[in-house]
Subunit: 339 residues, 2 copies
DNA sequence: TTGTAGGCGTTATCAG
DNA sequence: CTGATAACGCCTACAA
């Protein structure tokens, strides 16, 4: 691999000058510049970014922490972030935590050691101090999807509460009164917000909140299935179920299928998160569509501002709308459900 | 940020010794080691990996190029690779090409400049020379999912041909004789292999190959929908359609839904790629399941061998089995289809 | 058992 | 308009 010195030698100038033309950072006579460019071409010289990073204290790399890239919701977020960052010539180191606080912490440390210029993270909620400390130490950080208590960091969220509110309200309008809800881990801000939206809609409709109708679990297919079983085992069972994330929704359908129940005839369902394939199979899922791609995009834009202008600014909170997409899985209005 | 010198000073030793205890690379008296460790703790010193990389010529970072992380198939591959590499303390720079050769080339160059220790790629097929050159220049590379002509690089594939063969054979056994197939871009090795498998099954069954029944397009929902329309517009239309990747399968179902056709009654369908949610909605999809996670895992293992032992070895070709998962979307055996 | 010194490939200050 | 020169933070002969 040729270095800047090789180029300099070949062009008969000093490495300094080569560096300057490379970065277009001071005027160089057309003649020498031409010679240098030729040398660069001939040697097929490409600057070593590691060396540059060491010197310039800037790596053009940002860290991205999500719980699992395999979850289409996070994949969308990553893509959104990546699209804006790659435009700015940043690349992205991707890390999965699987919701494990230790891995999150290790990852954070690793990324700091690799000197990423910034960080976008979907947090587990367990490492509040570590993130604060990193931020205080000067690392630009933007959280996506979930907030951290205190809101000391820049955060981009979907309007979970309103999304859940709309979903629940929709079911209420269809005549449902016993509406089960499947929530993710307590302690994650999204679960909290979605529960609030659910309760707000019920309260507004004058429907009493039955704690037995709230089931929480890990945001996985298994977690959703377990919660679904608990709900369907109630007497009477709910006539509708609101599953508040994509994997748990799948778990719910696994259970529905296992029990040979029909949707929406036996249970109406509203999910959370949207994906193309949810609209083409039966029952096409009524769901709260999160602006997943935009979440990532917005997070990256905020991060970029902070990295670029070095103006840390105050922590900010951006909330993007979530909207209900009505399809078949809720069925038609039902008269009065009396169990 | 404290440096190794700060630690040395605080412990009253030379930076050298600190470095040696850090890397456990030569014997140090217990007493000094203890002092050093205390200093490290007190200063909360963490080595700067950029500096280390520059010196050690090893970044503990590998590049991963896929066409789109938003496609669950690639997300799985990435996850598989990541799981094995993170165990080895490597992190991963993720890049999307969207099948654009230019972006692929830019990405390759960028990753080389960032001095990744290795590269895993799903190639577009257009930059054969660039990849060879990088490999010749000493960059360990493993291709996944698609091969490049000449097979000069280590490659991990799914058994596309046999997968497609099984799918087609299954449809034949059910009595179908006019079987349409929706293929991805020609020029991508997977399309070629899947076509071969399809044709082999037909040939074996003594069914003539009708070119009108082969439709190709971009591996997107839109591409799949277009191909589906072309097939369904034939007279007579095929009684079964084999869609050879996940996005195109969705496109097929979009079209089926638009035309108010029933599956499997009006058209039987076999897809490619499996995902949890495909098994819970109706019609549950019969599909050729690729070992996506294992593809990534295997690729990373091969890459790791090359990076670790510096034994480049010969290019190798690993083919992982793809297996047909039978569900409802093919329906029951039909007597004899005579159009 | 420990330390000195040089260099990895760039960039940036300062001087010419 | 151009060049020495000194870092950036770490590793590793070589020397003691």
């Amino acid at each position: 691999m040729p270095t800047i010195r090789d180029v300099a030698q070949r062009a008969g100038v000093s490495p300094t000058t080569v560096s300057y033309v490379l970065n277009d950072t001071r005027h160089v006579s057309p003649a020498t510049e031409a010679r240098i460019r030729i040398a660069i071409k001939e040697l097929d010289f490409k600057p070593n970014y590691i060396a540059r990073s060491l010197r310039a204290k800037c790596t053009l790399t940002v860290g991205m922490i999500v719980s699992d890239i395999t979850n289409p919701f996070y994949a969308d977020i990553v893509r959104g972030a990546q699209d804006v960052l790659s435009t700015r010539h940043y690349s992205l180191i991707l890390c999965n935590t699987d919701e494990a606080p230790v891995r999150e912490l290790e990852t954070l440390t690793l990324l700091r050691q690799k000197k990423v210029d910034g960080l976008i993270a979907v947090v587990t909620g367990a490492n509040v101090d570590a993130f604060s400390e990193a931020s205080d130490a000067g690392l630009p950080i933007v959280l996506v999807d979930r907030r951290l208590p205190g809101d000391h960091l820049c955060t981009v969220l979907a309007d979970d509460e309103h999304g859940a509110y709309q979903a629940t309200q929709h079911l209420l309008q269809l005549g449902h009164r016993r509406i089960g809800v499947i929530l993710g881990r307590v302690g994650i801000s999204t679960s909290e917000h979605r529960r609030k939206g659910y309760e707000a809609a019920l309260r507004e409709a004058g429907v009493a909140i039955d704690p037995a109708l709230l089931q929480t679990g890990h945001s996985t297919v298994a977690g959703g299935a377990a919660a679904a079983k608990a709900l369907l085992d109630l007497t009477p069972p709910p006539t509708a179920i609101f599953a508040t994330n994509n994997l748990m929704t799948v778990g719910l359908f696994v259970t529905i299928k296992e029990r040979h129940l029909r949707c929406p005839e036996d249970v109406a369902v509203v999910g959370f998160d949207d994906m193309v394939w949810l609209s083409v199979f039966s029952p096409a899922l009524t769901t709260v569509a999160q602006p997943s791609y935009e979440l990532g995009k917005k997070a990256a834009e905020l991060l970029w501002n902070r990295m670029d202008e070095k103006k840390a600014g105050n922590p900010c909170l951006v909330i993007l709308p979530a909207k209900l997409v009505i399809r078949e899985s809720c069925g038609q209005a039902i008269a009065a459900v009396t169990h």
